[in-house]
């Protein structure tokens, strides 16, 4: 019973790491918007780096999520 509870608490704590990914992804899109608003001609050129940064920073938060799922289901 206590191990079950500890698992739940541990998974919840592990999922805190997702905050960092949220902040990172938000920063990237916000700066993309700012950059495009300042210089609309750069939109196409900036799109690929924006998606790349989004994917890379999102991955780190997903690692935290995977750890949480591993704790929960094994």
């Amino acid at each position: 019973m206590e191990t079950e509870a500890a698992k739940m608490i541990g998974a919840g704590l592990a999922a805190i790491g997702v905050i960092g990914g949220g902040v990172g992804v938000g920063t990237i899109w916000a700066n993309y918007m700012t950059a495009v608003a300042r210089n609309p001609s750069m939109e196409d050129k900036l799109r690929t780096p924006a998606f790349l940064g989004f994917a890379l920073s999102e991955a780190t938060s997903l690692f935290a999520l995977v750890i949480a799922l591993i704790i929960l289901f094994t």
């Binding site: 690929t48 998606f51 790349l52 994917a55 997903l62 995977v66």
Partner: protein
């Protein structure tokens, strides 16, 4: 998975449709393989229909195929350069396979084969090994300069080289885990939200229903973006191997 049979994890269970056992290896035709077949057949029929009657002014199906080709072709050309166009067929196949896998999996009662780490790890390891072989065959031992960019001061190199080596070997892990975790999290979220609709009375059930509607749209976007990101990162790894920084 220790979930009950109709919990949010039930959708990821692999079922043997045609059990096969060859020499101790379980090579059953599973529902995962069935949806891979669907994805390949859908891609094949799309491009067969699109290129059956080729005209100068494209028909609707032909313009769909041309848009896809231009999208992936432009991505490869921008990120790898002209030499990378040799690998366009592979990147294009990869993109279409993952895209169809993600989008087909969003249909109710469908199975998402990209939500299994085995499938993604196979694709990612294939890319990793192929990129390493391409790099060594093009540059020989000079390929090791990827780990230490020219002009690095010696004290910095002591820190930089281990980091670069680690980031090189973590590539297949992050590439496969990203797609896996996105698909897993998205589908679990959809099922959990859908569970709220049934348990609540009709009047309050509208609120989670609206949420499910919005999340479904988000998931369609994520499915396309993740296929794009997988192909884009493959292009960038290929660029490292071909052009060395």
């Amino acid at each position: 998975m220790a979930a009950e049979s109709h919990g949010p994890m039930h959708q990821f269970e692999i079922q043997r449709l045609i059990p096969l056992d060859v020499g101790g290896f379980d090579i059953s035709y599973t529902n995962s393989a069935l949806f891979m077949t669907f994805a390949v057949l859908a891609t094949f029929s799309l491009f067969w229909v699109a290129t059956r009657h080729r005209t100068m002014v494209p028909s609707r199906w032909q313009s769909v195929a041309e848009l896809m080709y231009e999208f992936v072709g432009g991505m490869v050309k921008d990120n790898v350069g002209r030499e990378g166009m040799r690998y366009l067929p592979f990147i294009f196949t990869l993109f279409m396979f993952i895209l169809l896998g993600n989008v087909l999996g969003l249909m109710p009662y469908a199975f998402t084969f990209t939500s299994h780490l085995v499938v993604n790890a196979t694709l990612a390891l294939f890319i990793f090994i192929a990129v390493t072989i391409i790099g060594f065959s093009r540059h020989g031992l000079h390929y090791f300069s990827l780990f230490c960019p020219p002009g690095t001061p010696l004290p910095v190199a002591f820190i930089l080289v281990p980091i670069e080596i680690m980031s090189y070997f973590i590539r297949p892990v992050s590439l496969s885990l990203r797609l896996f975790a996105n698909m897993l999290a998205g589908h679990v979220l959809l099922k959990v939200l859908a569970g709220f609709i049934i348990t609540l009375p009709v009047v309050f059930g509208i609120v989670p229903f609206a949420a499910v509607f919005g999340v479904t749209l988000l998931e369609i976007m994520v499915a396309v973006i993740q296929a794009y990101v997988f192909a884009l990162l493959s292009c960038i790894y290929l660029n490292d191997a071909i052009n060395l920084h």
